[in-house]
């Protein structure tokens, strides 16, 4: 474990080896047990789950996944969630990188103030100002459109994204930019041909955060999207309620696991870039 204590890649000392595995084992158990429980329960019938939530299913209800898919029209939900999440992610990456780039290249007074005003709202959830936001969205005529979600989500994702891009750019050596300028490149060329390609790790990190946030967002979607054809995944799971006060949990769990899959896969694929992006962008400079 001294490899961990020191720097990456060095061979581990045996005495601390077991400590690493102990921590990882307990941690993984703590994470996987609840998730495993709900995965198993997603394959029970609701009647059985309600009476014995801890048992193995007596009958494996694989059809729950099929029923959940059809009842909630998950194909449509996934398409809507995908549209909103991808658009939000792309816009966020674009606007945040442009904003960070502009503040990086142009050193003018007031630069810090602008940065601070954006970062200040970092963890303020939209629920705090939902009523005035609703008035704004209605006044812009956006209710019941995908934009009603994409635009506020993007705005809400900007603070963290801007921080990450900003720090990352600050950590890049100035020589690259200076050299490009001496070659006569315009700012746009520098942005497109140098900064963006170099920023792949941060793009990965911002991409994951933004995508996950948009994919799981529920509160704004519930209020701004009325048209069932435009529902995103979190909204669609409401159909599993069996009455005003009761829910078919096993179908709900099946729906949850279906919703989880895309993000899990995306994270596993992009893990390396994600962590490198956080490294470069989180706190340098």
């Amino acid at each position: 474990m001294t490899a961990a204590l020191d720097a990456p890649g060095k061979p581990a000392e045996r005495s601390l080896h077991w400590l690493r595995w102990l921590i990882l084992a307990f941690g993984a158990l703590g994470v996987l047990y609840p998730i495993g429980l709900f995965l198993v329960n997603s394959l029970k019938t609701n009647a059985e789950f309600v009476v014995t939530p801890l048992s193995w299913p007596s009958v494996w209800a694989f059809e729950n996944y099929v029923v959940a898919w059809q009842k909630a029209r998950m194909g449509r939900l996934i398409v809507n969630s995908a549209i909103v999440s991808f658009a939000t992610t792309i816009l966020t990456i674009l606007f945040a990188s442009m904003l960070a780039f502009g503040l990086h290249i142009f050193r003018f007074r007031g630069r810090n103030a602008i940065m601070a005003s954006v970062v200040m709202t970092l963890t303020i959830p939209a629920q705090i100002y939902i009523i005035p936001l609703y008035i704004v969205v209605i006044s812009l005529g956006l209710i019941n459109t995908h934009l009603a979600l994409i635009l506020p989500y993007t705005a809400g994702s900007l603070p963290l994204a801007v921080i990450l891009f900003s720090n990352y750019f600050a950590g890049l050596p100035n020589e690259v930019i200076d050299a490009a300028r001496m070659d006569g490149s315009s700012n746009f060329d520098i942005y497109r041909r140098i900064m963006l390609p170099l920023s792949r790790p941060v793009i990965g990190a911002v991409g994951i955060f933004t995508f996950v946030g948009a994919w799981n967002e529920f509160f704004l979607a519930l209020i701004f999207i009325q048209n069932k054809d435009l529902y995103t995944l979190p909204l669609g799971t409401q159909v599993f309620a069996t009455s005003e006060y009761s829910v078919d949990f096993t179908l709900l769990f099946a729906a949850f696991s279906i919703s989880m899959m895309p993000m899990l896969i995306a994270y596993l694929l992009m893990q390396r870039q994600f962590i490198a992006g956080m490294a470069g962008g989180a706190l340098k400079g």
């Binding site: 009647a47 009523i131 609703y134 209605i138 009325q226 069932k228 409401q238 009761s246």
Partner: protein, 431 residues
Amino acid sequence: MTIRLTRRNYLLGTAAAIATAALGRAGFAAGLAYQGDINMYSLVRTPPDDALAALIESFQADNPGVAIKTTSYPSETDVALMTAAQKAGEAIDIMFLNGQDLRRYAIDGTRLQLDDKLALDRFRPGALATGQVNGKTFGVPYSSISGFPLIANAKILTDHGLTMPKTYADLLAIRDKLAGTDIKVFTHPGKNIYLWPVWFFTTFGQTSGNKSVERTAEILSGKGKFTDSDVVAGLDAIFQFGKDGLLTQEIFSMDVPQSLAEFAAGRALFWMHHESVLAELMKQAPAAVTLDVTLMPLLAEGGAHATYPGGPSAIIGVNSGATADRQAASIAFIDWITSDQANAAAVKFNNGTVPVNTAVAAAGGPVVDKMVVLSDNLVTYLDWNWPPEVTHVFQEGIQAGVGGQTTAEQVAADAQAALDKLVAAGYTFKN
């Protein structure tokens, strides 16, 4: 120029259509002067009301040029968001809300009076009461009228040689008989504060001498107080359930799913819960349960009979400020969705029990039939008249009281204090 079809026309003309399972195309062609959108604002229904969707399509097909646009909000945020929508300039034609929220607008005078615009005799009187202010009707009921009776597991009674209790003493005897088993007398989702006031509505129904609605009006208009003895007695009765072990401390970690689990597993005799769970239980048909319904046993001697709190599933109102032709279109639509045929479909698709229309028969077996009989004892939820601050005091106070953390007198005093504060800020009770 509006063509108004009477109920008689419906019953005669659509008798054939009723025979078909689906709603059919026997909509309502009203020959409306208004062409355009009618905006209907409603609550998000869980599960979604497919019957309403079909009714809307049917109406639009028969009235080309009129489109019913629905906007629905989650149940707690609906009033706030509707106000925000109005501030942003949206025109609201029809409000389709729960009884409590629509009543707020009925009292404010922003709903159109409907007495001479719709045939109101189609509705059960109990269902109509919620939308009425000073005897005038501003909102009409939809789908079914339902409430919180005691849902019972008759199998436990037969297994242990017991009979349905009629008095509080009977309840204690049952508790003693079940002492060795793991069966509780009552299960309840104690974690959920929204579900505590119904206990008060039930007990106060008795302790007020079956005058709970009148007494509430008196208290809210200042002619009585929450600290009066019948209110305190009503609260005390609930807390007594806790002290006597009829409600156990475990209920505070339970929400509806856990109570359902307990009841379905045969580990609880009674569950005071909304009738809509009957459909779920009938579908699951758990082996450990024989479903039955009853009312709260008599808490004390002396004349008062048992009642249960309830109300219609939704009430519909029309904007009194809209133009006359929009109002006519709105009324035509409402006439359609509250027609007997539409009502039958709505009740069926929404797992309702007792339809609000008197001409529509309830369907669902012996338990539902018993509910129809019991529904004569339905008393409108008292919090449909209470200001929300008072409701909140009761929600928290009853939960705390059953948990042994406060007394009936204290809760009553807190409720009165909340009311006094509102009165000082300008609140007056309107009925």
